[in-house]
Subunit: 119 residues, 4 copies
């Protein structure tokens, strides 16, 4: 479910955070569901457990997951706020790119046309 890009400038622990969020948003992970243990995920991804631990710590801080010692780690019951944030940032990036294209002299008409075709 989780794929990492070693060469990316985004640190691995942040990539894990994003991937977990993505999995939740796409419904692969559901509220209250248990997620892999730190060690398990670390082994699966071939990375250091400390890195996974850091990611889980951030996710818990953001109320996205919750660890119950000895029982495991679980998705929080409410996840709506993640959806909003994610959608907003997607739109912002799109608009940023469109403005870039406009600056390069491409008309709004052309952009929208190509986007619809490209999909």
């Amino acid at each position: 479910m989780i794929t990492l890009d070693e060469k990316s400038r985004i640190p691995i622990y942040e990539q894990i955070i994003n991937e977990v969020k993505r999995n939740i948003l796409q419904g692969f992970l559901k509220p209250k569901e248990q997620i892999p243990s730190i060690r398990e995920l670390a082994t699966t991804l071939g990375i250091n457990p400390n890195t996974v631990k850091k990611s889980y710590a951030v996710l818990e801080n953001q109320n996205i997951i919750q660890s119950r010692s000895t029982k495991g780690t679980f998705i929080t019951s409410k996840i709506d706020h993640i959806l909003e944030e994610t959608v907003d940032s997607c739109y912002n990036r799109i608009i940023k790119e469109i403005n870039e294209l406009k600056r390069l002299g491409i008309s709004e008409r052309d952009i929208l046309e190509k986007i619809q075709v490209g999909e």
Copy 2:
């Protein structure tokens, strides 16, 4: 002509690369024109000449500029390929984001609507 964002995760040398490309694409820098010397640009930006050198090295590698020892550094005569590449990568990023939004359950109709308003 060139502005840097110190806080950005993008390294300074890459920001310079992007800024030079932007200046070319927007017509501020024209083919065969001389660009600031390494030392001059470094002084202007308040950074180390080696950082500028690195940017210029990459740009030369991409056939965007050409450095002539003891003469200075110049824009390559043919720069059409930069425009194409830039535009293509913009479109790719947009389409990637749109697909992300669709995966999150937002309809194409809604996306296009919001994009047009957001502009």
Copy 3:
């Protein structure tokens, strides 16, 4: 495995590039194998790590090696193209010299004879 010629007009970083390629071509370094870390090689050669870094950066650009942050640097899995390129450029240089000799009035017969003896 790597030897440098301090007096050469070829910069050290290019000598390193050539030496790494040579080691690969001669089978001392094999695909996917790890090569010395930047710091290690720098110490071994008695030069500055930045110089090694520059060499490795060029080699990575040529798809010959691949650096994985915090993991080390490795030979790319496919290296056939290096052999081809190297052989081709050798032949080109030979043919260039032969043409030079011909232009100086030496017959092809004489050239080939001398080459076979000279070997």
Copy 4:
């Protein structure tokens, strides 16, 4: 008659020396013939007169040209020694390249075959 490579690691003044020698060897410049003045050649090549001056100084030192003040600069009457040197260094470079090819596992038979075809 003279072409320069700005990007070459060989300094321009050395390139000029080589080019003059080449012109002599190929018969474009003959013994006792007058060659362009420093200023004239500098203008033609678009370079600094000091650079040409340096080349001419070396050539005079090697007894290849001779400057007679106010009259101009002329090719020396005897130029056989240049031919020998040039031919020898050509052969040396060829043999060096052939050895490189052998090291890469290409048989002498294959090399000679390809050279004859390649010509």
